[in-house]
Symmetry: none
Subunit: 529 residues, 2 copies
C-alpha cells in the first residue's frame, strides 16, 4: 500500500468534467459520482465551484452529511480574489471557506496575455491576488493547491513571469502548483521539458492538468509525471470542455501497469471498468467502446488471423491482462465469450453454477440474445438474477399481469397528469386498479402497488429511486428501441433492473415489474408459483 | 508544396481500420472512402488483403477502372510466404501481384515468441520468408514496405533478432520498414528511444504503426517522427481493432500545426473536418464529438466565465485557429450564461442584438431561469432561437394547442401500442385528430402532423431523427423532472429543441412543438400571429 501523499490522483470529473457539451449534473448525480470516485481510490475529488455555481454550493453542503468518503478528500475550486480588494472581503473567496473542505484549489493566471487582456489587471496585482488569496485560505486552515491556468502557453510567452507565479504561490503556502495546458495544444516532449525546467528552477511540488486537443492528454500527463510531477488531474471517461480532459483511468492504468508505480489503493485498479461504466450511466453519456483499458472493445479480437494463436497464448495478443483492470478479453465470433462471465457473475450473486454446464449454456445464450436486442445486464444485476433463477428453477412470480393501460393528458394551465389501470391476478384474486401520477410510469407504479399491497404489505418498504432512459438506435427517432433502467431500494440496499421495447412505457413497465418482483423476493414474500 | 516522397502519410482505414468491432465495409463503401482519402491528400491507401479477403480482391479489381486517384498510390497488404515453399509458388503472394498495385505492404514477424509460437517455424526460416517474398515482389516491379509486426514487444524480448528482421527486409529491397506496436501497449518515450536505436543501428527508412491501447497512439506516432521515422500509418477517425489505430487526421494536424512540417498537399488540411465526417457517414459510425481538431465539440466553449474574454481575443482560448482544419468555434449557452454568451450566440444565429441592452437582459434572465428549471440550451439552438424571437418580436406560432391526450396499452402477446388525440386551432379552424404510434411520442408526432398537414404541407419534409431523455433529479425516481431533447431534420439541415416537465410525455410534447415550429419557420411558412 502506497502513501497517497506521495502521489496525488486528483479527480475533477465533477468540476472541469462537467464542462462537457451536453452534460449537466444534478446535485444528486454529483453525490453519486463522488461515491464512485471514492471507490476508485482517488486522493482528491474536486466537487465544484461553491459561490459561483448554486448547485455546487448545495453539493458541498449536502456532502457534509451525505458523503462518507473512505479514500478521498473533497476540494472546493475557486479563483484568486478580485483585483483591488482583499481575499477576506471577496465573497467568492469566502464561499470557498464556507464549503468546509479540507482542500481548496485556486485557479490563477500565469500567462501575461491573460492577465492583461482577460483579467485586465497588472502583472503585479495578479501576483498580489495569488499571494493574498493563498495566504488567507492557509491562515484559515485550508490546504491549498494552485491551478496555474494557461501555464504552458504562458511559459512560452514569458517564462520569467510564469515562474514568478509558481514561486509566489509556493511562498504563500500552496502545497502544489498544477501546470495547466488549458487550451490543450501541447505535445508530450514539450510538456516534459517544461516540467523539468520549472522543477529545477523553483523546487515547487508540481502537478499536471491536461486537455486532449492534440489527442495527447494522457501522454502529456504521463510525460509530466516522468519529468517529476507528483500530482495528476483528470476526469473519469475523459469528459470535459472541447475534446475533454485527460482520462484519469487511462492515466492511472498506465502509471500502474506500464510504469510500475502504485498510485491507487490495493485492489482498486481491478474495479476501474465497472466504475467507468457506472459514471457513464450517471452522466448519461454513451460509453465509448474504444476507450483504453475499460472500453467494451478494448480487449476484443476479431477472428481471423490470430484467433487460434490467441487461444494458445493470449499474452501474445494483448498488451496487458484485462483482468488487471476488471475488463475481459472477448473473441468476437467465439462461443466461449460470455460463459466465464456468467459463471463469475452468478458466483458473485451467491449461485454456484459451475457444475451445471447446460444451465450456463442456456443463461449465456439468453444473455447474448437479450443483449443483441438492447438489454444490458452490467448495470442490472437484479434482472440477471431473475433470469438466472428462471433458467435454474423457474422465475419467482408474485402476480400475473393481464393487461395495463396508461393515459396522459394535458391540463389547461397546469402540468399534465397520468392515470394508469392495471389488471392482474394475485393470491387467486383478479384485481383491477387505477392509479394516478405526475407521469406515466409513476402512475403505473402507484397502480401496481395498490393492486398487490393487500397481499404483499412489504411493498410499502420498496421505493423507486432512479429511472434512466436511453434511446438505442438514435437514427430512427421515436421509432427507435428504448432501454430503461430502474433502481429500487428497500431502505437498506438497492437493486437495478432493465426493460427494453419499441414503446418507452412498455420498457419502463418491464423494468418496474422486475424491480418489484426482485424486491418481494428479497423481502422473502411467498411466490405464487 | 512538399515532396510526398520525403514523408509518407500512409492510410490503412480500409484494411486495419475495418478490423473495428461492428464495422463491415462493402466494396462500394471502400471505393467511396478511397476517394475521400485521396482528397485528404494521403500518399498511400492500403486497400485490403487480396487473396485472403474476397471483397478486397474485388476492391482492387474495380479500383483499376473506378478510382481516379490524384494524390495517393494504392497498396495491397499481405503476408510473407508460408514456411517451406517459395514466394513464387505461394498463392497468397501471387494474389498480391494480381492486385496490380504500385505498392505491396508485407506483414512480417519480428518477435521471436510470435515466430515460434504463432507462426511455428524457425527464426532462420522466418528471415528467409522475408527475404524471399520481398525479393520476389521487387523483382516483379513492386515497391515493397514491410510491416514489422509486434516490433516493440519483440525488440524488448530479443533486440538482436528484431534488428535482423529490419536488415533482412532492407537488404532484400524493402523501401520502408514499419515498426508496429501491434498490441498497442507502448508509451511515447519508449517508442522514441526504440526508433532512434533502430535507425542508428540499421540506417533503414522507418515507419510507425500505432494502436491506442494506452491512449497514446497519436503521441507514439509523433514521437516516432520526432525520432526519425519518415512514414506514418493511421486510420481516419482512429477506427481499428480494440481501442483503434492512431487517428491519421490528428497526427497530420499535429505535424503540420505543432511541428511546422508540410505533410499534405496545399489546402488539404482545411478539408479534414469535412472528410472525417464523410468517412463517419460511410462507415456508419456516429462521429465522436470530442475528437481532436474535427469533433463537433473540438472548438466549443461552455464557460460563461471566459465568454467575455473570448469576444475580445479568441486566440487566448484556442490552441489553434479552427479554420485551419475546416472547423468552427462555437459558444454554448450554459447555466453559467452571461450577457456576453447570449450576444455571441445570437450573432452566430444571425441576429445582432448588441444594440438592444434590454433585450439581452431579458433573454439572459430567461435562459438562467429556464436552465435552473432543468432546460439546457447548449444542445438546443432552435429552442434558444425561438426564445430570442419571442422576446424580440413575439414567437412565431403556426397553431394553438388546446389539449392533447395519449393512451398507451399493453396487447396480449404483442408490443404495446399508443394512441394520441390532439385538439388545436390552425388557420382559423378547430381540428381534432387521433394518431397511432409504437410509443406515446411517436403517436403525438403522427397526430400533430395530421392536424396541421393540410395547412402546412411542408411538414412532410420534416423528420424526427433523435430523441433523448434525461431524468434530472434521480433521487426522486419517477417523481423527478424529465428533460427531453429532440432533433429534427428537413433533409438538408437539422436542429435540436428541448422540453422539460415532471411528466415525460409533456416534456416530449414541448420539445416536439418547438421542433415543428422551428421547422415551419425555416421552411418560410406563414405564422398565424
Amino acid at each position: 500500500m502506497t502513501d497517497p501523499e506521495q502521489f496525488h490522483v486528483y479527480d475533477t470529473t465533477l468540476r472541469d468534467g462537467a464542462q462537457q457539451e451536453g452534460l449537466s449534473l444534478s446535485v444528486q448525480d454529483k453525490l453519486a459520482i463522488a461515491g464512485h470516485l471514492d471507490e476508485l481510490g482517488v486522493g482528491f475529488i474536486e466537487g465544484g465551484w461553491p459561490g459561483a455555481v448554486p448547485k455546487d454550493t448545495e453539493f458541498f453542503r449536502r456532502a457534509r452529511t451525505e458523503l462518507n468518503l473512505k479514500n478521498a478528500q473533497l476540494a472546493a475550486f475557486g479563483a484568486t480574489r478580485k483585483a483591488g480588494t482583499t481575499a477576506a472581503e471577496d465573497p467568492q473567496v469566502r464561499a470557498l471557506l464556507d464549503a468546509e473542505t479540507p482542500v481548496v484549489t485556486l485557479v490563477a493566471k500565469s500567462h501575461v496575455g491573460h492577465v492583461e487582456r482577460a483579467l485586465r489587471t497588472t502583472l503585479d496585482e495578479n501576483l498580489a491576488m495569488i499571494a493574498d488569496t493563498v495566504g488567507f485560505l492557509v491562515a484559515n486552515g485550508r490546504r491549498v493547491f494552485v491551478d496555474a491556468e494557461h501555464f504552458f502557453d504562458g511559459y512560452r510567452t514569458n517564462p520569467e513571469y510564469a515562474l514568478r507565479v509558481v514561486r509566489t504561490a509556493t511562498e504563500a503556502g500552496a502545497d502544489v502548483v498544477v501546470l495547466c495546458d488549458t487550451n490543450g495544444g501541447m505535445l508530450p516532449d514539450d510538456v516534459g521539458a517544461t516540467v523539468r525546467d520549472v522543477l529545477a528552477q523553483t523546487g515547487a511540488r508540481l502537478g499536471m492538468h491536461a486537455h486532449n486537443d492534440t489527442g495527447c492528454a494522457v501522454a502529456n500527463s504521463v510525460a509530466a509525471v516522468d519529468a517529476g510531477a507528483t500530482h495528476v488531474q483528470g476526469t473519469v471517461n475523459g469528459t470535459g470542455e472541447r475534446t475533454g480532459n485527460a482520462d484519469i483511468i487511462t492515466i492511472v492504468a498506465n502509471l500502474e501497469l506500464k510504469r510500475g508505480m502504485t498510485v491507487l489503493p490495493d485492489g482498486a485498479l481491478q474495479e476501474v471498468t465497472r466504475i467507468a461504466h457506472a459514471v457513464s450511466e450517471l452522466t448519461n453519456i454513451v460509453p465509448y467502446s474504444r476507450q483504453p483499458y475499460v472500453g467494451a472493445s478494448a480487449f476484443a479480437h476479431k477472428a481471423g488471423l490470430h484467433a487460434s494463436a490467441i487461444k494458445v497464448d493470449p499474452d501474445l495478443y494483448q498488451h496487458t491482462d484485462p483482468a488487471q483492470v476488471g475488463n475481459d478479453m472477448r473473441l468476437l465470433v467465439s462461443d466461449m465469450a460470455g460463459r466465464a462471465s456468467v459463471e463469475l457473475k452468478s458466483r458473485e450473486l451467491g449461485y454456484d453454477v459451475s457444475g451445471d454446464r447446460e444451465l450456463v449454456t442456456r443463461v449465456t445464450q439468453r444473455v447474448k440474445d437479450l443483449e443483441a436486442a438492447g438489454y444490458t445486464f452490467e448495470a442490472a444485476d437484479a434482472s440477471f438474477e431473475l433470469l438466472l433463477r428462471e433458467e435454474a428453477e423457474g422465475r419467482p412470480s408474485y402476480f400475473d399481469v393481464e393487461s395495463w393501460r396508461v393515459i396522459t393528458e394535458s391540463r389547461p394551465g397546469g402540468d399534465a397528469v397520468s392515470e394508469a389501470t392495471v389488471k392482474l391476478r394475485a393470491g387467486g384474486e383478479r384485481v383491477v386498479v387505477t392509479g394516478e401520477g405526475n407521469g406515466p410510469v409513476n402512475a403505473l407504479d402507484h397502480a401496481l402497488r395498490t393492486a398487490i399491497g393487500a397481499l404483499y404489505p412489504e411493498i410499502d418498504k420498496l421505493e423507486l429511486i432512479d429511472f434512466r432512459v436511453r434511446i438505442l438506435d438514435a437514427a430512427h427517432g421515436t421509432d427507435a428501441v428504448t432501454r430503461v433502467l430502474v433502481e429500487m431500494t428497500d431502505g437498506k440496499t438497492s437493486w437495478e433492473t432493465v426493460g427494453v421495447g419499441a414503446n418507452i412505457i412498455e420498457a419502463s413497465w418491464e423494468a418496474l415489474v422486475d424491480a418489484v418482483t426482485y424486491g418481494l423476493l428479497r423481502q422473502g414474500g411467498a411466490a405464487i408459483s
